[in-house]
Symmetry: C2
Subunit: 246 residues, 2 copies
DNA sequence: TTCAAAACATGACAATAGTCATGTTTTGTT
DNA sequence: AACAAAACATGACTATTGTCATGTTTTGAA
């Protein structure tokens, strides 16, 4: 619920055709499913683009032309309201697909904005080529159905949390899923590798920055977490889980 | 945010194999896409079941065995929290698919409960047959991808509204989408054909029943709507749209 | 038609979260 | 190392929504 920063759209930092079979691609289930031959063909149609702080991958309302996959780094999907408040719908990680969905049909436009969180690398291909590939590969189509189904369940779970839970419970839920999705072991607990400020967290759970700060301060006092954006550590996952579902 | 009614699970009122080519099926895009031959085959694998008030089509946590399509009437998808509050994620109308998604893979269980709103008729088929059909019919698979993509966008739009808007705005949004999705012309405006109590509306927008009642009373006073559950009429759609996005 | 259950309604008060103001600390450049 | 920008923090006050209690109206089934 922060004010939307009025930043001018910037061009991506670098762009080049993706090489034959680079490392990192084995984190992408959709590509793993294809035969080596089809994978080569698809990679030939994909372009790798790097983005950095302040870039936009695309913005709400832009026409949908490409299908995207996150290769490295994380990407956030954001929507904003007319009065400048914004909410983060989802943080995409390597292997995640975006614009794999309905907005890519019918020449529609993007329902939200995609922004890199730090340095990221994204693969993309023309949506026509993507659809053609899916038609020709039932395995790939089934994988996309599975993936979209998971995303739908996740989005509905998020809606449920927003509809029913208090701010502190929503924040606890967020911390739990961060620990599970991007946590690594740390002497004091679980370190969250995605860098998230209090404002980022606020936007993810639908509260103001001040509220997120106050609640995180309480969590810190209660020894549930330590540190801020760069070095956020979950110290008591079980208690956070309990709080999230109480 | 009403207390969850503790009703015992009931068996469906009637069950019979679906006949060859009954009326009503032309409202179902997924079936329309198939060739006449494939459609016959699929219909042969589907069972039509009728449900009535108080029935459950399935409940949160039940194992997923079937893929479903709404044929007649409306079905609500509900999730509840441990302390008995519940929220309605989506009202499905004829042609809508459910359990077409990830919960049907991996022998997972239903992430929510499906309840008939009044009398409904639902087609279902074993999930294995459904997946087989999709593999064999790229058109059908593409249609499911398109459908799931739309559902995902819708769910994310809902999450945005829950995260950013006030209770009155959320209710206004609901009324607008009801008018558009299930409204018919009426001398005084647009009549909503789905029967929804204030409590149903409350569950759909994440507020208490009392809050929904108070806000609807204000809308009535301001001549934006008239009537209750059985005969809800939208009198001033433009003003509701304005309120929803202000 | 009657009657009970459900839905609708409203007031008083409490809890939660937002707003605005102000100040401190941290971070990331030059 | 210095400095500006961003992030974090906190207090005081307000707005919104929830909670609980109670009563009226409507609906649907016997």
């Amino acid at each position: 619920m922060s004010k939307q920063p009025k930043r001018s759209p910037q061009q991506p930092a670098a762009e080049r055709p993706s090489p034959g079979a680079p490392a990192g691609l084995n984190q992408i289930p959709l590509l793993q499913i294809l035969s080596a031959q089809d994978r080569q063909k698809v990679l030939g149609e994909m372009t790798e683009t790097r983005y950095g702080k302040g870039d936009y991958i695309f913005r709400e309302g832009d026409p949908t032309e490409y299908f995207h996959i996150v290769k490295e780094g994380s990407v956030k999907c954001v929507k904003s309201s007319l009065d400048g408040k914004e909410c983060t719908l989802k943080v995409l990680m390597p292997g995640d697909l975006f614009c794999c969905d309905a907005s890519a049909f019918d020449g529609a436009s993007h329902p939200g904005t995609a922004q890199p969180m730090g340095d990221v690398s994204v693969l993309r291909m023309k949506k026509e080529a993507y659809f053609k590939m899916l038609r020709a590969n039932p395995d790939a189509a089934m994988e996309v159905i599975r993936y979209l189904g998971n995303r739908l369940n996740e989005a509905q779970e998020k809606a449920k949390v927003l509809a029913l839970d208090r701010a502190d419970q929503r924040l606890a839920s967020l911390l739990v899923s961060l620990a599970e999705r991007s946590g690594i072991k740390d002497p004091n607990g679980i370190r969250v590798t995605v860098r998230l400020t209090r404002q980022d967290m606020a936007n993810m759970v639908g509260v103001t920055t001040e509220t997120a700060i106050r609640i995180m301060a309480r969590f810190k006092k209660d020894r549930l977490v330590t540190g801020t954006a760069a070095r956020l550590v979950i110290r008591d996952l079980p208690k956070l889980k309990l709080l999230a579902s109480t």
